[in-house]
Amino acid sequence: MSELLKVPTMAEFMAAGKQPEVLFWVGCAGSFDDRAKKITKAFVKLLNKANVEFAVLGTEESCTGDPAKRSGNEFLFQMQAVTNIEVMNAYEIKKIVTACPHCFNTIKNEYPELGGNYEVMHHTQFLKSLLAEGRLTIEGGQYKGKRITFHDPCYLGRANQVYEAPRDLIRKLDAELVEMKSCKSRGLCCGAGGAQMFKEPEKGNKDVNIERTEQALETKPQIIAAGCPFCNTMMTDGVKNKEKENDIAVMDIAELIANAQDL
């Protein structure tokens, strides 16, 4: 399986005197989290399929600093940012794609002031552009007619007004897209943002991911689609908590598309 994946690094491109079309920023979750790694691989399969000349930073990549900044550690954030920017500028990176809305938001919005100016795309936007250019075709495959609800990641939706790219891709699967009562600009958070992912929640009467999962279950979905590795974790936990993991899958959009092509 793994030999099928072509994952060149920036260093290799540099050594060959070439520049890739786009840098795939994998992110910490995509690199280390077992669930998120599957998303990373699914996206790479699609990039390979579409013959996209991409590269990763590999061991030269480091946390964007998002959880540090949102925890209040501005110093650590900026140290991370400046270090990453130095690496990317040395490679003369112009365009970045990432499957993590937190990395997406940070690099797109908070890096420019610190000297990092790139065109940054979320992987759903990038896949949509591949589709538009005819480099990738999507068939519904196993998802034809399935009820799919999409959970808007805060840092993709409200934070950056990207609501349609992931939905367009779901529609391309010939799936039945059903919306939760809070969606798009009023989408409810999964509970992981603002560094909550890394700590126990404060005292309350419910966990945020349970509340959100309940909203998702109201739509009677067969699949809950996500566009963020952290949302994915939170929603997966929520579905398990409701003992629905055998009926409802939580899947990233990239996984849905890759699976539909039997990649």
Partner: protein, 435 residues
């Protein structure tokens, strides 16, 4: 001729407007206690936002019922106040209904005012029912007990009384009724007074007229002490609202300077600090009190009308956590008022009162419950940004007090040591490819 009413009127007018102006000055001074930020950019977009959001109420109608009722009261308020102009001219000159010579146009205007007055009255009753009988959840939170609750009701009573006085004033104005133009509503009220003598009716008309204008002046001065300030501040607040994407949090410039210096190999660490070093290093990172916040944050606080849309959309609040974005704004205003009174009492100098926004008003528990999801920012109909205040206060907690929850400290140590929030080696970052 008897000039007494005109003199009394002039005194009331000058006193009413004068006292209000005094408080506006105080308000501006308090807002300016905030840290300076440059919001002089992108004027055309700012005007557009103000026109759409404040003037056009575009975000109010996202919630259709409250939105529609609010639009009625808002339009009614703005339009009926045209009448105040006539009242003031009448009051100062001793004339009566000076614009009535405009004939049909006057009738049309007053007719419009009368219809709006009834619509406002009905809307305000519905608002009152929502707060006191239906008991919508967002009006019952713990921060809405006491003054905020009575403030909300008081405003509604004010409006009910003012609208009633306006209609009674018209109904008992027999000359106006005789014109039979524009008395669409009041003509149905006039018969209620048919048992009164002409003299009594005139007396009622004068009383209603006086109470109406005095009521307006009192209401004007009530604003400063009330959440109702939003009727004025919504305009500047939407103008100065955030223009960048909601996910973009500002980078702390003082930190940028330090980081750049650390990364610059040419910097001589033993060099004497430059002349302006004192000014360059901020007194503290982040915010623990209102003076550390930006003046836009403070304007936000005075603009908040405590509608609670932010809190009702907040994931932390919905799941029973202590955080309420509305309370963050109310606390900021309360503390700012306290600081302002302190300055007034000490001849223009703030005397340390041993209190601050953090701890005495807003607790760490509230701050750490935030998921930074921007739902509160999105929900606010007047572009208030509670998240910005929360983030500045977290910055203070972490950078000045190292008071982050232990798990977050572990996460940050991981980022520092191995470039990821988890304890994995950076050298293993590409291992997924071969797994």
């Amino acid at each position: 001729m008897d000039y007494l009413p005109q003199i009394l009127f002039a005194i009331a007018l000058v006193a009413g407007i004068g006292y209000f102006a005094r408080n506006v000055k105080k308000l501006m001074r308090n807002i300016k206690l905030g840290r300076d930020v440059d919001v002089s950019d992108n004027k055309s977009q700012r005007w557009k936002n103000m026109t759409m959001i404040a003037l056009g109420q575009s975000k109010m109608v996202k919630r259709p019922i409250a939105g529609l009722l609010h639009v009625i009261v808002y339009v009614g308020f703005v339009v009926i106040n045209i009448e105040v102009l006539e009242i003031i001219i009448d009051g100062l000159t001793g004339k009566h209904r000076i614009f009535s010579s405009a004939g049909a146009i006057y009738g049309f205007l007053i007719g419009t005012f009368e219809i709006l007055a009834v619509l406002v009255f009905v809307s305000v009753i519905v608002f009152w029912l929502r707060r006191n009988v239906i008991k919508l959840k967002r009006f019952l939170s713990s921060e809405m007990k006491g003054w905020p609750k009575s403030d909300g009701n008081m405003i509604l009573y004010f409006e009910m009384v003012l609208m009633t006085l306006f209609l009674v004033m018209n109904a008992t104005d027999l000359k106006f009724q005789a014109m039979d133009s524009g008395n669409i509503i009041s003509q149905h009220i006039t018969p209620w007074f048919s048992n009164f003598s002409g003299h009594s009716i005139h007396l009622i008309e004068r009383t209603a007229w006086w109470l109406h204008i005095l009521g307006i002046l009192i209401f004007l001065n009530y604003l400063y002490f009330s959440k109702h300030l939003h009727i004025l501040l919504a305009f500047p607040n939407t103008y100065y609202g955030k223009l960048t994407p909601k996910g973009q949090f500002e980078n702390n410039e003082a930190v940028t300077k330090e980081v750049k210096m650390m990364m610059d190999p040419n910097v001589d660490p033993f060099a004497a600090p430059p002349e302006d070093a004192e000014a360059a290093v901020p007194a503290k990172f982040g915010a623990s009190d209102v003076k550390d916040l930006s003046w836009v944050n403070l304007l936000n606080a005075y603009t908040c009308t405590e509608c609670g849309r932010c809190t009702s959309e907040c994931p932390a609040n919905q799941t029973g956590k202590k955080l309420s974005p509305r309370k963050i704004m109310m606390d900021t205003r309360d503390r700012l008022e306290e600081v302002g009174k302190n300055i007034d009492a000490n001849k223009g100098e703030f005397k340390d009162d041993g209190k601050q926004l953090l701890g005495d008003y807003i607790t760490n528990e509230e701050l750490w419950a935030c998921t930074s999801c921007n739902a509160c920012v999105e929900a606010c109909p007047v572009s208030i940004d509670p998240l910005n205040i929360i983030m500045q206060m977290r910055q203070y907690l972490v950078m000045e007090q190292s008071a982050a929850p232990m798990e977050l400290n572990n996460m940050m140590t991981n980022i520092e040591n191995n470039g990821a929030p988890w304890p994995y080696n950076q050298m293993d970052r590409l291992n997924w490819k071969d797994e």
